[in-house]
Structure formats: structure tokens, C-alpha cells
């Protein structure tokens, strides 16, 4: 709540200095020729370029498109990117993304940046558990599909998502808005953009709350299976998933010549445990999450002719606390000699009248310093060199009523007698039995890239990046991109890149956990990808793009049974090969109608018995039609079709194809100032599921039909 108060205060203060909105409607008219000449048209891969010319396969979704598609959360936007699918992370229940069939049990294999600063944390290598990014403050989302480690380093593996927030020129004046929907969904936001002396100031905040769909019913959960085994009735199934959340998000941006300063904060309040941390329904579990990112950039072209120098300093701080039940009240569970719950090699039975309870806390700190040079003095070449240092640290807090340190397994009565263990938590923080010991590592990097204009229509980009990790050692990642502008309408690209994903601290160091154990000897995952892409713009109103790709992923990190033990641990287990194609279209075929969409096809096989990766679609179609039926009104209708998802061997849970339809009506600049919208998402209430942890008897039911109404006003 503190952050919302701050932004409200900021808004009220700045409002008094706002000039009329009309003069800022098109800020570009107020810019000088010199300012216009410095404005990048798109930032997709290091050097600003148009999407068709960028040295990678790139998608850009603008704020206008986000509004048009009716999206209110990040996963709804990313689902429309070719080759990308938002499923469910089997351990946390958060949304998790697969790109071209690549995903991991704990990790989306993606790097996520906010205005170019890394916001994924080293705990899981993905966004912090419980973060649901809201979208009002976002100007555009750039997605690179394919490897990006030669530019961005670790985790730019299957792709890179760069979320660009709104700057002063993107939201001139003051804007406030509200949104109300079913499931007690509410959202309110405020934005300010303006100039104060030499500084351009942008600030925004957004509050968002929902109780979630109470019809996402699990007929059976993991406890149902245990009940059947031990003759108990502890399970809360059938019951609804716990999907409520409440969040406040804020952003402050200050820009002037040479300087760019940003502060972003997210506060998730009493977030939910979805299907339960252990696969058993947990309606009372709660998680609180806070994340802050502050960054300062300085760049200058004034010091030396042909040289641009830049520095970027950032600090990410995150705090996560969760108190939840792994298993419900009155569960009877088998206890192994080490004190953990295990279903093989167990030696005692225990009843938990207050359930199996866990408190998990962790604090993440990641300071980063980057320094770079761009040299433009060599004819037809643009040279970039940069170096960086990053320190990653996670400190954990852990309290539980089960496991090593919490109970003395040796003192339990042997089976078949039933011991009783109450719900009192034992604090294991700073003991050898904490779930994750305090962990840290240092990361150094050095990267160089050359963009060579071989001929007027040919550009060759070559890059190489060296990373040194204090835990697993070093890695070298090259990339080559050849872009040929065949003519004004047609561009062709040939791309090769190698990338790596650093093992997360969970994968390296987890201890005292009945579900997963860390492995300090892990190597990074690596991937080699070749791509051919073509971009065709026969007329200014039509764009067609297609690509073909092949990749080989090695040292895939997966949970595997430990030899001679009853535990699972993370291991570099296997490799995966995949290939596929993506096709995109966007056609403004008259002044009223715009149709756009994409089709992605992929197939991938693991080296283990040729298995297909589970839960990722073989076919994915997104189709949208925008009809501007009045000058200021439009209707967008869209279809999302998912087909051909694979399953693990022995997984018989249905994972059927599905399609959802959405309809969004918007009115813009009514009376010059007011915007309104109404959205009907999953309009036909399609009942569909995403892949769940194999220990849950059913896959995860996804949200049914939802609607909202929204209004905003710009002063």
C-alpha cells in the first residue's frame, strides 16, 4: 500500500504543473529535427531496427494492440506471439511459457527484461513466484524467439521478452482508469507524463484484484490418491482452485539528455496457491511478494567523435513469503527415516490434525553494472563492445512441521501405529535443514558485436559473448545473422546462435525437500539454433512473415530419480531436438478491417526414447479481426486454438485440443478524452485444461468465461 500512496502523491503533485492535454496529443510535433533524428523506431536486438530488418525473429506488441486484444495480464499477450504458449508451472502454479516446444519443469527458458533490465531472479531462473504483471503502464512488448545469449547472456535461451514501459511522451498529461469484471475483478490506474525543466517525467501505478474463477474445480487432488491408499478422508476435493490475487504495481521514469533513471515496484498481497504447493487443494494458503528494480543509465556521444559510451547500473530486490499447507488437516502420511514424507521406503505413519504446513521465505538481491562502447567510425561497420558484472544472492527462511530438523523420525512409533504431529512450525532458517541454503554467485561477461553493411542491401551481424559464473565456470556463445533486403517488399534472414541457461539456485542447492533436491554439479543447458526467415510486404497494408528453424538442446536439466535412493534430484539428463515453422500475417484490407494472426507448428523429441515434450502444442493458431464500425469504435474478435499437446509416458490424463474466442469492443477518445471498453473472454465458456504435476490425478482446469467493463479519461 505504501507504493500506491507514493504514486498517488506524485500524481497529485505533478498534476498541478500539467499543461493542456491538447498540445501534447501528438508530442512528436513538438520535437526538433535533432530530437527526431535520435528517436529509435524499434528496439529489437541491441541496435534499433525495424522488425523486418532486425537480426533475429522478432515480434512487437504495442500498447494499442494490447488494448485492442483486451488483455489485462502478461500471459494473455504472450499467448498471441507465434510459437509461444502460456501453460502452468507445475510447481508454483504460475503461468509458464513454452517457446517452440521448449520449456522446463521449473523454468520457461526465457529471459524477461523490463526496459532492458533483467527481472527474472536466480531462484527459479524465471519471474518470482506470484508475480502477475499488469499491463496499463506498458508501451510495448518485444519478443525475440530463438537464442539471444550472444547479446544478453544467460537465460536468453528459447527467447527474450523485453517489456518497455510508457515514457512521458507515451502518456502526456494525466490519465486515470477503472476496470470492473466478474469474479470480483477490480482494477484502477493512474498515469502522468510531462516535462519539468530538462527532465521528462513519467509515473504510473496500477491496482489489480480478483477472486479468480470459482468454477475451476478439481474433482480429485493428490490427497485424494493418498486418502485411497491410507483409508482417510482428508482431501478437500472436489473443490475449486485458489486463484485470488491482489497487486499494486508502480513505475517512475526520469529522462533527460544522457540520463535515463527508472524505478519499478510490484507488491503482491495475499496471493494464492492455485492447485496447492504439494498438489493438494489449499484454500487458505497465502503468499506475499514484493519486487523492486531501480536502474540508472548514462550514455553520451559528445565526448569523442564516432564513439558512444554508456553505463547501466541496476539493482533488483525481491522478497517472498508464503504460509501454506502442503497437505490438508487430518492427512495421514508415510514418513521415511530422514523425517520427510515419502511413498516408498517409509518407516512410520503420522497423522497431521493441522495439516502439513510450510513457511517459505526468500530474499533476492541482484546488483548489476554494465559498461559499453559503440564505435561508428569505421565505414559500413557498427562495433559494439560491452562488459558487465552481476552478483546474485538468495537468502532463504524456512519453517515447517515435517522433514529433517522438524521431527525426529527415529522417535516415531513404527508402522502400522499412527503418530500425531501437530501444526507447530519449527524454524529451520540458518540450519543445515533449511530448504535452500543462502546462495550467491558472481557473473562476469565480455561481449562484442559487429554490424557490417556488406552492400547496400546486405547486412552481416556477428557477435560473441563470454560469461564466467563463479559456480559452474565459463561459457562462450556466438551468433551470426545475415540479412538481405532483396527489394523494398522482401527481406530474407539467415540466423545462427548458441545460447545457455544457467542452472537456478533451486536446481543447484535445494535440500530437505520431499519433491526435489538440488545438484551442485549441474552444467548449464545449451542450445544451438539455425533459422531462416522471410518478411514480405507487397503493399504497405499487408505484411507476411514466415520462418523455419531447427535446434538442438543439450544438457537439459530435469528431475530424475536418484540411483539407489528414494529421492528425485535435478540432473543434466538428456538432449532435445526440434524443428518447426511460424507464419504471420497482418492485413489492413480496407479502412474498416484489419485481420492479423499467426500459425505455429513445431515438433520436438527428447533423446530419452524419442519422447515429445509434455504440455506444449504441436499446432497453435491465433487469429484476430478488427472491425472499425464507427470512427471511434472498434470490435476485435479473436480465436486461440491449441492442438497436439504431448504427455509423459504413463500419463493418461486427458489433454485435449481446445479453442477459445474473445470479443472486445472499444471506444476511443470519446468527447476527446474518454476511452471505454468491454471484453468477453473465452466467450463460449470452453472447458480446457493445462498440464499439471504428474502427482495430481487431473490436469489443471483453466478459467471459464469472463467479462469486464473499463473506462479511462485523459486530462
Amino acid at each position: 500500500m505504501k507504493s500506491s500512496g507514493y504514486f498517488l502523491l506524485c500524481l497529485l503533485f505533478l498534476r498541478t504543473q500539467t499543461t493542456s492535454a491538447d498540445s501534447k496529443v501528438e508530442n512528436y510535433f513538438a520535437m526538433s529535427p535533432a530530437e527526431l533524428a535520435l528517436m529509435p523506431i524499434s528496439i529489437a536486438s541491441g541496435t534499433p531496427k525495424s522488425v523486418s530488418e532486425s537480426a533475429s525473429v522478432t515480434s512487437v506488441i504495442t500498447a494499442e494492440q494490447i488494448k485492442s486484444m483486451g488483455a489485462t495480464e502478461l500471459h494473455e499477450v504472450l499467448e498471441t506471439i507465434p510459437g509461444m504458449h502460456a501453460g502452468i508451472q507445475v510447481l508454483s502454479g504460475d503461468y509458464q511459457y513454452s517457446v517452440r516446444g521448449i520449456q522446463n519443469a521449473t523454468n520457461s527458458e526465457l529471459l524477461i527484461l523490463l526496459d532492458g533490465t533483467r527481472i527474472t531472479t536466480p531462484f527459479l531462473g524465471s519471474l518470482l513466484t506470484g508475480i502477475e504483471l499488469s499491463l496499463e503502464g506498458i508501451q510495448r512488448i518485444e519478443v525475440i524467439r530463438g537464442p539471444g545469449s550472444a547479446l544478453y547472456g544467460a537465460d536468453a535461451f528459447a527467447g527474450v521478452i523485453n517489456i518497455i514501459t510508457k515514457k512521458a511522451e507515451d502518456m502526456p498529461g494525466v490519465t486515470t482508469g477503472v476496470r470492473l469484471g466478474n469474479w470480483d475483478t477490480q482494477s484502477g490506474w493512474g498515469q502522468y507524463g510531462g516535462e519539468h525543466g530538462a527532465w521528462k517525467v513519467a509515473s504510473s501505478f496500477q491496482y489489480q484484484h480478483t477472486q479468480g474463477d470459482d468454477q475451476r474445480i478439481l474433482q480429485q487432488d493428490r490427497q485424494s490418491v493418498i486418502d485411497a491408499q491410507f483409508g482417510t478422508q482428508a482431501s478437500l476435493a472436489p473443490g475449486a482452485l485458489n486463484t485470488r490475487y491482489e497487486s499494486i504495481q508502480g513505475r517512475l521514469s526520469l529522462q533527460r539528455k544522457h540520463w535515463d533513471i527508472g524505478l519499478w515496484g510490484f507488491n503482491g498481497i495475499n496471493g494464492s496457491t492455485r492447485a496447492g504447493a504439494g498438489g493438494a487443494l489449499d484454500p487458505s494458503g497465502r503468499a506475499n511478494v514484493q519486487q523492486f528494480v531501480g536502474d540508472v543509465r548514462y550514455s553520451t556521444e559528445d565526448l569523442f567523435q564516432n564513439w558512444q559510451l554508456w553505463a547501466h547500473m541496476s539493482h533488483l530486490h525481491a522478497d517472498f513469503d508464503a504460509l501454506f499447507q502442503v497437505f490438508p488437516n487430518n492427512a495421514i502420511l508415510p514418513i521415511a527415516p530422514d523425517g520427510n514424507i515419502r511413498f516408498n521406503n517409509w518407516s512410520a505413519l503420522a497423522k497431521f490434525p493441522d495439516g502439513v504446513r510450510n513457511f517459505l521465505g526468500r530474499q533476492v538481491d541482484v546488483p548489476t553494472l554494465e559498461l559499453g562502447l559503440v564505435y561508428q567510425g569505421l565505414a559500413e561497420h557498427l562495433l559494439r563492445v560491452n562488459t558487465s558484472y552481476r552478483y546474485e544472492q538468495v537468502t532463504a527462511r524456512f519453517a515447517t512441521n515435517i522433514g529433517m530438523g522438524a521431527i525426529q523420525a527415529g522417535s516415531l512409533l513404527p508402522r502400522p501405529q499412527i503418530n500425531v504431529i501437530n501444526g507447530q512450525l519449527v524454524d529451520l532458517t540458518n540450519t543445515p535443514n533449511v530448504s535452500l541454503p543462502d546462495s550467491n554467485r558472481s557473473v562476469w561477461s565480455l561481449a562484442a558485436q559487429d554490424e557490417w553493411q556488406i552492400a547496400p542491401n546486405w547486412q552481416l551481424t556477428t557477435g560473441l559473448r563470454y560469461d564466467f559464473y563463479s559456480d559452474f565456470g565459463h561459457t562462450l556463445n556466438p551468433r551470426v545473422a545475415l540479412v538481405w533486403n532483396i527489394n523494398e517488399q522482401l527481406t530474407s534472414k539467415w540466423l545462427y546462435g548458441r545460447a545457455f541457461r544457467a542452472p537456478s539456485f533451486t536446481e543447484l542447492y535445494s535440500t530437505n525437500n520431499p519433491l526435489r533436491l538440488g545438484n551442485a554439479n549441474l552444467s548449464p543447458e545449451t542450445i544451438n539454433t539455425v533459422e531462416w526467415a522471410i518478411d514480405y510486404r507487397p503493399v504497405s497494408t499487408l505484411r507476411l512473415a514466415a520462418n523455419l528453424y531447427f535446434y538442438k538442446l543439450e544438457d537439459f536439466i530435469d528431475l530424475m530419480p536418484d540411483k539407489g535412493r528414494a529421492t528425485l534430484s535435478f540432473q543434466n539428463s538428456n538432449s532435445q531436438e526440434g524443428y518447426g515453422s511460424e507464419f504471420e500475417w497482418n492485413w489492413q484490407f480496407n479502412e474498416q478491417w484489419n485481420v492479423l494472426g499467426n500459425y505455429a507448428w513445431q515438433t520436438a523429441h527428447s533423446s530419452i526414447a524419442g519422447r515429445r515434450p509434455a504440455g506444449v502444442p504441436e499446432h497453435h493458431v491465433y487469429f484476430a479481426a478488427i472491425w472499425k464500425f464507427l470512427p471511434q469504435w472498434q470490435l476485435q474478435s479473436q480465436l486461440n486454438w491449441i492442438a497436439g499437446r504431448g504427455r509423459e509416458q504413463n500419463d493418461v490424463r486427458p489433454l485435449n485440443d481446445y479453442q477459445t474466442f474473445d470479443f472486445i469492443v472499444r471506444g476511443k477518445k470519446l468527447f476527446g478524452q474518454v476511452n471505454v471498453a468491454a471484453s468477453l473472454r473465452n466467450a463460449f465458456n470452453t472447458q480446457y485444461v493445462e498440464l499439471a504435476n504428474i502427482q495430481i490425478p487431473e490436469n489443471i482446469p483453466m478459467p471459464g468465461r469472463s467479462f469486464y467493463f473499463e473506462a479511462s479519461i485523459n486530462f
Binding site: E53, L382, P631
Partner: protein
């Protein structure tokens, strides 16, 4: 059920496929053309125009219009003390004097006194030598930024004079290239 859903979806799409005169704007969220729109307005200020009798300052978009509605707010501005008017397609009559003529696709045409010809330069024409004979100002993509190519000779022939503010961000082509 699936067929019914798809049918309803397509009916919702087809409901609007009929002509209407109510349409007035095209929304294109395009930074590139916002920058070019900004340049067009700067041309009104940083080019010296010969006198004429037109009651308004006219910007004519010939051929396809990549700006859409984002150029429309320029009509709230003034140039040479007159309101700016946007003229597109059929609204451009022979009687109207176009101070600025924008063409998305360049075509070789005769120079007109007091008219500035502006066009997009496609990537394959980005080398200086390929500049067309009668080109005046071209928008060119240089490493993701929109710069200008200016042929000052052609501007002079049309009676136009360019301010140093524009020349600072321009590549000069034609006989003045090496000045």
C-alpha cells in the same frame, strides 16, 4: 458445439462487411510515421517558402497514406500564420497549391515552384548515388533512426531554402553532396 462456436465467431466478423461512410480515421500505432509526421511539421518551420495566395498551408498525401490518423492533429497547428490543411487522394484538386507533397512510393516528377516533394526511401535505394534526379527530401532509415536525405539544388530550383536546423540531421545528395 465446436461448429456452432466457429459459426457464431464468423458471423460476428461478417456482420460488418458492408460499406459505410462513417469511417473517418485509420489508427496506426507506428513510431516510424510519428517521427516522419514530426519532420513534416518541422519542414513548415525550417524551410523558407516563397509567397503564395493560398489561405491555408496545404500538406498533400499522394498515393497510399501510411500515416493514417496520426498525422491528423497537424491540422490543429499553423504554418506561415495560416491553418494547416491535410489533403489526401481525391481531395487534392488541381486548383489547390500543395506546399508539401508526400509520396510513400517515390515517382519521378517535375519540380513545382513553391512545392516541397517528400518521399520514403526504400532500403535498396539507401546509397547516396541512387538518389533520384528530382528528389528533394527523402526519409531514410539509418540504423533504426529516421534521417533525411536532402537535395538542396532541387530545393533551390523550386524556390525553397533549407534552414541549418534541418541540414544538421541530413545527408546531402546531388551536386552539394561534398559541401
Amino acid at each position: 458445439m465446436k461448429i456452432i462456436q466457429i459459426l457464431i465467431f464468423w458471423l460476428s466478423l461478417c456482420a460488418g462487411i458492408y460499406p459505410t461512410d462513417l469511417w473517418a480515421e485509420i489508427e496506426i500505432e507506428n513510431v516510424e510515421y510519428k517521427i516522419k509526421a514530426g519532420y513534416l511539421f518541422n519542414f513548415t518551420k525550417f524551410i523558407t517558402w516563397p509567397s503564395d495566395n493560398s489561405p491555408s498551408f496545404n500538406i498533400c498525401i499522394q498515393g497510399s497514406d501510411p500515416f493514417g490518423e496520426l498525422l491528423n492533429p497537424i491540422e490543429q497547428m499553423t504554418a506561415l500564420g495560416r491553418p494547416i490543411r491535410l489533403l489526401r487522394g481525391s481531395k487534392i484538386s488541381a486548383d489547390e497549391h500543395c506546399h508539401i507533397i508526400f509520396r510513400h512510393t517515390a515517382t519521378n516528377s517535375a519540380l513545382t515552384k513553391g512545392s516541397l516533394l517528400v518521399n520514403d526511401i526504400p532500403p535498396e535505394e539507401s546509397s547516396k548515388m541512387s538518389a533520384e534526379a528530382n528528389r528533394m527530401i527523402g526519409f531514410i532509415n539509418r540504423q533504426g533512426k529516421i534521417k533525411l536525405q536532402i537535395n538542396t539544388n532541387n530545393l533551390q530550383q523550386a524556390g525553397l531554402k533549407v534552414s541549418a536546423k534541418l541540414l544538421e540531421v541530413a545527408e546531402l545528395v546531388g551536386d552539394n553532396e561534398h559541401e
